[in-house]
């Protein structure tokens, strides 16, 4: 086929793809995306997994290693069939946090650390370089195959020139496709649709070649099976380590490859699409690999010895004279290569610009307001990144010589990106995973990958000398790149995979266990691990700033999102806050929304840094957390204090209430006493006045005079006694009483008291129980006063004991230096509510006038006992009224 025709066909194909992308973006802009955002398009776009490596390389792989090529598709099948475990969470987090790339995901999870973003970006770029080289190689090879057949038209340029042209063409194409504009959430509807179209083209092409082989050359499936059994491929070598290792590797790669992450997570417009993709994508790759073995077998059978099996898809139809089919196959391979290069370089360029160029630029210009048009800067950096990435791929292609089998190059790349897996899965499922652990694990795994697989891939003597390869660096044999720690029996690829992933995971775990995460990291960790619990509700701790902050934020947002979009966003937020205009209050919630929005364009770390520049603080610091904790502690302490105070108040209120009750009762008593005492005073006074009037009138018989005089005398005595009592009490209370201390027997005092008290109600006969031996106590005290107390108590008993056969028990006890004397009668005692009153002045329990006293007796007793250093109290719980007198055996220091 003429070379010029081939070029025209390829160009026409690219232009038609460009038209598809253009039309779709137009429709998306006017909101008519419709079916373009269907699960079908999503699933087809995932087919960037199947690159030119799949398209051409799988057949070659099958021809060399039999069914082992299937591992590359079985791994992704397990991951997609198990979408409920990982993919669902990944997509949910990607949407919640507006993740722009896999580097953004890792950096965002580990506290928006840009260092991690840079590490992952560098790793991805390095790992993608061989892969891009692979695409260049396959396109160059396919051009070479096609154009060699004829000599008419343009002369076929040699491979070097072709590869340069292919590289340049792909760069232009990708820049035109991927960086036409800067999307708010980094989604490229047009590109995705174009990728979906390419997916259809490559599927149709491969299936067409497969059908031609099965039904055109061979005679149906049965014949193919027979040919397989007859061919040199009838048997294949199943190496268990490679089989499981490669399944694991491809499973890891399908979520870690930047381009897969781009279409799987970043371009996802609806989580439900994942459910469809969970079975549709495995179906797609199954169909892609269904005809690989037949093509390989028939190719080996029909093609001349030494033909490159990597190109059977192309050369087989060509050899059979099927020019049209070969053209379709060429376009399929071309599609595979271009779709991979486009998506991979868009994903990588996003990472480079968000994690390397933007932070660098921000650090150069730490001014608060962001000057210049950031959008143009970002787009420019992305375009340059795309060019640089493709140039790197080209360089790798040139250096590695482009001679190796396609499959082995792809696998090197897979092992490189698989190093991200521990940090990613750890971040999704383990809250304890920390930044330090992730950095260490990534760097270590990546270093081992470079040492054991990437550098040796350049060929002998290219990067590592043959001596290092066979004897190890500095002659240390257990550090040989392909036999680390003396493990020699392994396939080099599996060896590199085993050691890099194992050590990576171990160091990641160990680093996480011993390090301590920052507050932002912990917040992000919780938000990622518990992604399904709830919509993340902030916790970033932006503090509200003044009105000026909002304007600065708007200026910055306009430069990143574009004028219309930024204004629209700010207006909507202002409306939500109930404000008119374009400037919402910069509340914590608003700033967080804005950060998410910006993160969709420039990545979480950069967005965070930019907002920090304007708002002026970076999220929560440890001090803030401490302050919050302190505040909480203070509040708790305060409430405890309040509680305590309340208890005290309750207590004193109760005391006050008691006191008040007592006072009220006393006041009532006092009133009663006043009327009583006035009555008591008045009665003798009345008779004194009456009799003295009669006496002054004269003319009285002398016996009457004597009689009346006696009455007056007695009444005067009564008055005097009453007044004496009152006087006595006041003297006792004021503490100025003179005590006459002497040594006297308790028994004689009780005898005297009983003698005196017998005058009170002498008609009642009391049975007195005494404890005569116990009474043999000599006390040093004022015996007259004490006897007075005893008299009072005994006569009270005589007066108030209401028993028919009254009894009085007097018991004496010595305890330590004190003596207690109990007076217990067998009456009904004193009711509980009155017990606290009986020692008060003027207290009278009954209105019984028979008692005749003024209610001062017990009050005087109490005062006397206080003066004698003792007490008198009512003993509750006896069978009758009971009083206990307690006094010291020796009163040492008489008052006054």
């Amino acid at each position: 086929m003429p070379f010029n025709l081939l070029v025209v066909a390829a160009l026409a194909y690219v232009i038609s793809l460009f038209c598809v992308a253009f039309v779709v973006e137009r429709r998306a802009e006017i909101g008519a995306a419709g079916w373009l955002r269907s699960p079908l398009v999503y699933t087809l776009s995932l087919s960037v997994y199947c690159t030119a490596w799949t398209f051409y390389g799988a057949v070659g792989y099958a021809a060399r290693s039999g069914l082992e090529f299937l591992t590359i598709y079985l791994g992704p099948t397990i991951v997609f069939v198990g979408w409920w475990w990982v993919l669902r969470k990944l997509v949910r987090i990607g949407r919640q946090h507006r993740v722009t790339s896999i580097a953004d995901l890792i950096s965002s999870r580990y506290g928006k650390s840009n260092l991690l973003g840079v590490i992952v970006t560098v790793m991805c770029v390095m790992a993608a370089t061989p892969y891009i080289a692979l695409q260049l190689q396959s396109v160059t090879l396919s051009f070479g195959v096609f154009a060699s057949a004829t000599t008419d038209g343009w002369a076929k340029p040699n491979g070097d020139v072709t590869s340069i042209w292919v590289t340049a063409g792909l760069a232009v194409f990708t820049i035109l496709f991927g960086t036409r504009n800067l999307d708010a959430n980094e989604q490229h509807t047009g590109v995705v649709t174009a990728i979906a179209v390419e997916a259809v083209v490559k599927l149709v092409a491969l299936v067409a070649v497969g059908c031609f082989v099965v039904w055109g050359i061979a005679d149906g499936p049965r014949d193919i099976l027979a040919r397989i059994d007859a061919s040199e491929m009838a048997n294949w070598h199943m190496k268990p380590s490679r089989w499981t290792g490669l399944i694991f590797l491809s499973a890891a790669a399908v979520i870690c490859l930047p381009r897969m992450f781009q279409v799987l997570v970043v371009e996802n417009s609806d989580e439900r699409h994942l459910a469809t993709a969970s079975w549709a994508f495995p179906l797609y790759v199954m169909i892609m690999s269904l005809f690989v073995v037949p093509i390989a077998v028939v190719g080996l059978e029909l093609m001349p010895e030494g033909a490159n099996p990597d190109l059977f898809v192309l050369t087989l139809p060509l050899a059979q004279g099927q020019g049209g089919l070969a053209m379709l196959a060429f376009l399929g391979g071309f599609s595979s290569a271009t779709s991979m290069v486009i998506v991979a370089s868009i994903a990588l360029a996003t990472m480079v610009s968000n994690h390397i160029v933007m932070p660098f630029w921000l650090s150069l210009r730490p001014a608060k307001a962001v000057p210049g048009d950031v959008r143009r800067l970002i787009l420019l950096s992305r375009r340059l990144s795309i060019g640089a990435i493709l140039a790197l791929g080209y360089a790798y292609y040139k250096v590695s010589g482009g001679s190796e089998a396609l499959a082995s190059i792809g696998l090197i790349s897979f092992v490189g990106v698989a190093q991200i897996l521990p940090a990613m899965l750890g971040g999704l499922f383990w809250r304890g995973a920390t930044r330090v652990g992730a950095v260490l694990g990534l760097c270590f795994g990546f270093a081992i990958w470079g040492y054991t697989l990437f550098l040796p891939s350049f060929g002998a003597e290219a990067a590592l000398s043959a001596q290092v390869m066979t004897e190890g660096p500095f002659g240390i044999t257990w550090l040989r790149p392909q036999a680390l720690f003396g493990v020699t029996g392994m396939d080099p690829l599996i060896h590199a995979l085993f050691w890099s992933i194992t050590l990576n995971t171990l160091i990641f775990c160990a680093g996480s266990l011993v390090s301590f995460p920052s507050p932002v990291e912990r917040v992000q960790g919780a938000a990622f691990v518990n992604a399904f619990d709830a919509e993340p509700g902030g916790g970033q701790g932006w503090t509200a700033q003044g009105e000026a902050g909002a304007e600065d934020l708007l200026v910055m947002a306009q430069r990143i999102l574009g004028d219309d979009e930024a204004l629209g966003f700010f207006e909507a937020q202002a409306v939500m806050q109930g404000k008119v205009g374009y400037l919402p209050d910069p509340t914590a919630g608003f700033i967080e929304q804005l950060e998410r929005r910006l993160a969709g364009a420039v990545g979480a770390a950069t967005a965070h840094a930019m907002i920090s520049q304007i708002v002026g603080r970076t999220a929560v610091s440890v001090e803030d957390l401490m302050a919050v904790a302190n505040e909480a502690a203070q509040i708790m302490e305060y409430s405890a204090k309040l509680e305590e105070q309340q208890d005290a108040l309750t207590r004193s209120a109760r005391q006050l209430r008691d006191a008040n009750d007592k006072l009220t009762q006393l006041s009532v008593q006092k009133d009663a006493f006043l009327s009583q005492i006035s009555h008591e005073l008045r009665t003798p006074m009345t008779s004194i006045r009456a009799f003295s009037e009669i006496l002054t009138e004269g003319d009285l018989p002398p016996e009457l005079v004597t009689k009346y005089g006696l009455v007056i005398h007695q009444e005067t005595k009564r008055l005097t006694r009453l007044l004496d009592d009152l006087l006595d009490l006041s003297v006792l209370e004021s503490g100025t009483v003179q005590l006459n201390l002497d040594l006297s027997s308790l028994r004689s005092m009780i005898d005297a008291a009983l003698q005196s008290a017998s005058h009170t109600r002498p008609e009642r006969s009391f049975v007195i129980h005494r404890d005569l031996p116990g009474e043999e106590v000599f006390l040093r005290t004022d015996s007259d006063r004490l006897t007075q107390v005893f008299i009072n108590l005994i006569s009270n008993a005589r007066k108030y004991c209401d028993s028919d056969a009254p009894e009085l028990r007097i018991s004496v006890r010595r305890k330590g230096g004190r003596v207690t004397v109990d007076f217990i009668d067998n009456g009904s005692g004193i009711p509980k509510d009155k017990q606290s009153l009986i020692f008060e002045k003027f207290a009278r329990l009954t209105d019984q006038t028979k008692a005749g006293g003024a209610g001062l007796g017990l009050a005087i007793c109490r005062e006397v006992m206080a003066n004698l250093g003792g007490t008198i109290s009512y003993l509750p719980g006896q069978w009758g009224g009971a009083f206990r007198v307690t006094l010291p055996l020796r009163l040492e220091k008489p008052k006054a």
């Binding site: 299937l70 099948t77 997609f80 009838a234 199943m238 619990d533």
Partner: protein, 89 residues
């Protein structure tokens, strides 16, 4: 957080459906690694034809089961996710 001991039959079914979705990849891995154990112990030579048929049949069955599960799972009402037991501690 305390979860109820007994669930309505429908909720119970959905939970088991999710369990099935989680078990499926484990089953897939087992079935796809199984061919390692075939053949003579001494040699690692295998038949391309029969192994290929086995692998593609398993593959196809996995796709069919995944499709059935995905249909049932995606018809769940929204918000049930939030109570997904896997994601709760």
């Amino acid at each position: 957080m305390k979860r109820p001991l007994f669930l309505a039959p429908q909720t119970y079914r959905q939970r088991r459906l999710r369990d099935a979705a989680r078990i499926l990849p484990v089953l897939a891995a087992f079935l796809l690694i199984l061919p390692m154990l075939w053949g003579d112990e001494a040699s690692d030579i295998r038949q391309t034809g029969s192994d290929g048929i086995y692998l593609f049949v398993v593959w196809f069955l996995l796709i069919v089961s995944a499709a059935l599960l995905a249909r049932r799972l995606s018809s769940e009402p929204d918000g049930v996710d939030a109570a997904s037991p896997k994601d709760k501690k």
